[in-house]
């Protein structure tokens, strides 16, 4: 189905839910002021659904907003990753699943706006998606790019594009094969020696400005008080000392073990272009290999590191 047709179906379903008063609001995407971008919107009236859109720039993980709107009955437009985050969150009892309606969109993979921006010289003033192509225009250029070459790394490796957990799917499920077998970031990282890995991590984290955008956009980062904000005890310095930046990034990644849906929202949010998904994606791979577990595929199995079984084959339990 074309994106326009998908968009039409999303609007239709959203309108229906709001008209029948089955939900209080719909969380979806809308166009805003910049090209290559969309913005999360919160629609409360059936007429308002006309502003809902769907394209390859709907990159935000809307599951993040469940924390903010959990007291309402919400309808959320979800991609595969958003839906998996929500399932993981419902397992952690962050919201009542009965009050949430998922409008599922089998995802066509999202376009990496930073990569597109770097591909052309000059500021992009208009961008249009036409089938498998993106046409970007500036004051002195007009370039046609092949969408396939400008996808987010997390989208390239995605094998759960269809949000099977959704209450309704607006399109047929897509074929679940990755474009790339191993996440490009993980692949490069694994090829490095231990020293090189450390140097890479050290160099990349040194740009961190501690805006915590990676934490805030992440649906799984919802602690009322994050360890970096604790004063008593104080775990971490408040400045830009390398050890503090590294500490934050390691702990942030490790807290995601077995909980990260691999949506890549953290990396997209970073204003300093720090690669982050190579860590979380590597952890995802490890959890899959060691425990045969993937995040958010069913609403029964808790993440392996958040549970225990008395007949565990490891002897730590005895």
């Amino acid at each position: 189905m074309s994106q326009l047709a998908i968009q039409e179906k999303i609007r239709e379903k959203a309108k229906e839910l709001l008209s029948k008063k089955e939900v209080d609001l719909i969380i979806g995407f809308s166009n805003w002021t910049l090209p290559l971008r969309t913005t999360p919107v919160f629609i409360r009236t059936p007429e308002g659904t006309e502003s809902l859109i769907w394209n390859s720039f709907c990159e935000n993980n809307l599951a993040t907003y469940i924390h903010k709107f959990s007291r309402f009955r919400v309808g959320i437009i979800v991609k595969g990753c958003d839906a998996r985050s929500l399932t993981a969150l419902s397992l952690e009892k962050r919201f009542n699943p009965e009050r949430v309606f998922l409008i599922g969109v089998p995802c066509q993979r999202m376009v990496d706006r930073k990569k597109v921006t770097k591909a052309v010289k000059g500021e992009i003033l208009r961008a249009e998606e036409r089938g498998e192509e993106i046409i970007v225009e500036g004051e002195e250029f007009k370039t046609v790019l092949n969408k396939k070459d400008y996808l987010y790394p997390s989208c390239q490796v995605c094998t759960h594009r269809t949000p099977i957990q959704a209450h309704v799917l607006v399109d047929d499920p897509v074929e679940e094969s990755p474009l790339v077998e191993i996440h490009p970031g993980v692949n490069q990282f694994e090829k490095k020696t231990f020293e090189e890995r450390w140097r890479f991590f050290e160099k990349e984290t040194s740009r961190c400005i501690r805006c915590y955008a990676c934490r805030e956009v992440c649906p799984m980062c919802y602690c009322t008080e994050c360890f970096v904000d604790d004063y008593r005890p104080k775990w971490i310095g408040g400045g830009l000392q390398p050890q503090d930046l590294q500490f934050y990034h390691i702990v942030r990644a490790y807290h995601q073990t077995g909980r990260c849906s691999g949506c890549g929202a953290c990396e997209r949010a970073c204003p300093m272009d720090i690669p982050l998904t190579y860590l979380t994606q590597k952890l995802n791979q490890d959890v899959k290999e060691l425990f045969g577990f993937e995040v958010g595929l069913n609403s029964k199995t808790p993440p392996p590191l958040s549970t225990f079984e008395v007949d565990d084959k490891g002897d730590f339990i005895k």
Partner: protein, 346 residues
């Protein structure tokens, strides 16, 4: 006074400048990410990104700055202060919005009776070399915020990129120090015309579309408006817009160290963080992003103009470019002057 600096002389010119001063300029950290940094070699200077991620305020008000060191020695505590700046400094290539923002922060940090020594010392010892914006970005709205893409005010010297050379205007006493510099040659009579052309083009692009006039008065009536219930919705509460903002100037003072030795640090703080307004009792007067977003906008467009007669925003557009959920401050300003959203029935 107007001069001309050929681009082929640019690096040698900087070298000569660096003999006497520390030079701070935009440096690229990785493709598409640049910041202002003290440079060791002129070839590090990189003007290709119109606006650096972190603004030039960092040179005067660093994100994390040791105020003093303490050490306990033989029952006595020794304190070494850190405010002194030993060498003269030059800030090169700051855009007019960043320079305008520095004069805004000056109003806060340098006005009597509370002057901030750390800021003051750095500011006094720094010569500002501005750089005109040709062309500005689509997110720029400096003209609406009281500036313009070629605003000279605040700069000691002002550069305009003319292709093969920079035109150099010596604007202040500090700037006139360069009048005898051998690399700054006689200006070409054509230069003025070309600058005018570039200015016209830039002004046209930036325009005056954002209704900034009277925003202070409008917001006076809006403290409890339903407006805020809607504006904040998509805000996820990160600190990008405040840390990348050239005028934001909040900080937090903490001691890092132990009983024997340590430092008193001053770190940037952000009103978007819940911790910012959390009180010791556990009560938080700004409990959600609604109150925090309101604080950010009210401070810039209501409290700041009340005290200093100018909006606390210079229209650089960084917060628009880098917001992970695409919050557009221009749109919020426009909304304050349009019909307010009404409270729905639910």
């Amino acid at each position: 006074m107007m001069r001309r600096l050929d681009k082929r002389d640019f690096e040698t010119f900087l070298e000569s400048v660096m003999e006497e001063c520390d030079l701070y300029a935009p440096v690229s950290l990785t493709e598409g990410v640049s910041v202002f940094k003290k440079i060791d070699h002129p070839n590090e200077v990189n003007f290709s990104q119109l606006l650096t991620q972190k603004p030039a305020k960092e040179i005067f008000f660093p994100q994390s700055e040791p105020m003093f060191n303490y050490e306990r020695r033989g029952g006595k505590i020794q304190i070494t202060s850190n405010e002194e700046v030993k060498r003269e400094r030059i800030l090169l290539g700051a855009r007019p919005c960043d320079i305008e923002a520095i004069s805004l922060i000056e109003k806060v940090f340098m006005s009597e009776p509370y002057t901030d020594l750390y800021f003051l010392e750095k500011r006094r010892k720094t010569t500002l070399i501005g750089l005109g914006c040709n062309p500005p970005l689509s997110t720029c709205f400096c003209s609406s915020a009281g500036g313009d893409p070629f605003l000279r005010s605040g700069s000691d010297l002002f550069l305009v990129d003319l292709g093969d050379a920079y035109s150099v205007e010596l604007l202040t006493e500090k700037g006139m120090v360069f009048s005898k510099n051998k690399f700054l040659r006689e200006a070409d009579p054509e230069d003025l015309r070309r600058i005018k052309e570039l200015e016209d083009k830039a002004f046209e692009k930036v325009g005056f579309s954002i209704p900034m006039d009277g925003i202070e008065k409008r917001l006076d009536l809006m403290m409890e408006s339903f407006f805020w219930d809607r504006v904040h919705e998509k805000c996820i509460g990160c600190r990008i817009c405040t840390y990348l903002c050239p005028t934001c100037h909040c900080f937090d003072i903490v001691d890092e160290g132990d009983f024997a030795r340590g430092q008193r640090m001053r770190n940037w703080d952000s009103c978007l963080s819940p911790l910012y307004s959390l009180e010791t009792s556990g009560h938080n007067p700004r409990p959600t992003t609604r109150e925090r977003t309101r604080q950010r906008l009210m401070h810039k467009f209501n409290y700041f103009p009340k005290i200093f007669n100018r909006v606390g925003c210079v229209g650089c557009g960084r917060c628009i470019q880098y917001c992970p959920v695409h919050f557009d401050i221009r749109q919020a300003i426009i909304w304050t002057s349009s019909k307010r959203p009404r409270k729905p029935k639910i």
